[in-house]
Symmetry: C2
DNA sequence: AATTAAATTTAGACAAATCTAAAAATTGAT
DNA sequence: ATCAATTTTTAGATTTGTCTAAATTTAATT
């Protein structure tokens, strides 16, 4: 599989192209910052190879084989992200770009050994689950911080928005995975929250709270 | 720089294209398992970019910039090899192929941090020196085992032939970098050696002895 | 110095992945 | 159910890196 083919499969998976949910040419093109006509060409090619279901004008979905390949790439991407953060002290916002390159390295032994080095992590630095070798993974039971009731507390386990600006914001404010957060007060007026985290009191906007995932036991 | 361009620079460097030693189109083609006509095309392109000196029919050599780029790729390759052996338990013969892929990952921070994680190694698993960030490196003072006099001893620091079959042979016979080797006897008839290594006595052929580097203090 | 052999370059073609512009199919609004 | 708007596909072109076959240059031999 070429790098480009792998990127298409990954993108289609992320757009929900598993099961049979048909993904449109346009959606893929937009996500990948390419043109719909290029997507059509690639859809043909990947269908030819048995990785996609594709009927003209009907959109695209992953076959079982395609899903398997997509998960394998996502597994690699997320393991490399853990490596970058845990072993090389990268910050949240720095890992994605490099992992985009590393995910295409071809060596089964490499990824197995990397998994072992990292002690078989289940989640990546954004809190997203890492598929196992045989393509299984568990979405964590989590909810948005903005949906927690007053006085409830939980552990920060992930982000909804993983854009660089948001991740940088979190870094700057020392909001990190694993931190325990308690909701002290909710402001009706602007839905901002007062929270306690690592001993300190914070006020955070609704926009932040609705992009942070928390695990509530 | 594309992956292909990087591979050309690396190959030309390895063929001795530094200084002004002119490397022939054919030599490059043979080394890279491609055709001379393809090399000509690329030579033009790289000369255009200021990375090579190239005059039609006169062969090719690296410019200062080209040398710098080549060394940067070699640095990455060798650091990744150390990583694979030290952190992921790869054997000598397994590292090259994967490092060929990893050397093209683009991230300065990645390679700096990797260097740090590995504790700034000076030599790769084959005993070859790792260029520093600014392109300096020291060839180690070493000699071939076959050139050592009787009763001299030294530490195994590298291989001349780094083909997979040879490296596998060394692995199988527990001949590893860092081992201390003493020459006990040289057989005039076939130039085989009797050596002492890690407590045990061995007999090794001239072919082996003439592909193992030893450091003699 | 001429001729042959070898190395190198040129010319033209191809595959992969992309693009633009035009054509075709689908959607959805009335 | 029709027609306009939108989406998708087709057709043809482009770029990168490669190839083959033919032409050219250099090197070697006599």
């Amino acid at each position: 599989m070429t790098r480009s083919e792998e990127n298409y499969l990954k993108t289609i998976f992320h757009l929900g192209g598993g099961r049979d949910a048909s993904i449109t040419t346009n959606a893929i093109a937009e996500q990948m910052e390419t043109k719909p006509s290029s997507v059509t060409d690639m859809a043909r090619k990947l269908a030819e190879k048995g990785l996609l279901h594709y009927k003209k004008y009907q959109g695209v979905s992953l076959t079982d084989l395609g899903t398997k390949k997509a998960l394998s790439i996502i597994r690699k991407h997320r393991l490399w992200e853990v490596f970058l953060v845990e072993k090389l002290d990268f910050t949240w916002d720095e890992v994605h770009e490099v992992a985009e390159q590393l995910e295409h390295i071809k060596s089964e032994k490499l990824i197995d050994k990397l998994d072992e080095l990292l002690d078989f992590p289940k989640y990546d630095p954004h809190g997203d689950p890492i598929p196992t070798k045989d393509g299984k993974f568990m979405e964590r039971d989590k909810k948005l911080l903005s949906e927690m009731p007053i006085s409830a507390s939980g552990v920060c386990v992930g982000v909804k928005d993983s854009s660089v600006p948001f991740l940088k914001f979190l870094d700057k404010n020392k909001i990190a995975l694993g931190n325990t957060i308690k909701v002290l007060e909710k402001e009706d007026f602007d839905q901002s929250l007062r929270i306690q985290m690592e001993g300190k009191d914070f006020r955070i906007s609704h926009q932040i709270a609705s992009n942070l995932y928390v695990k509530t036991e």
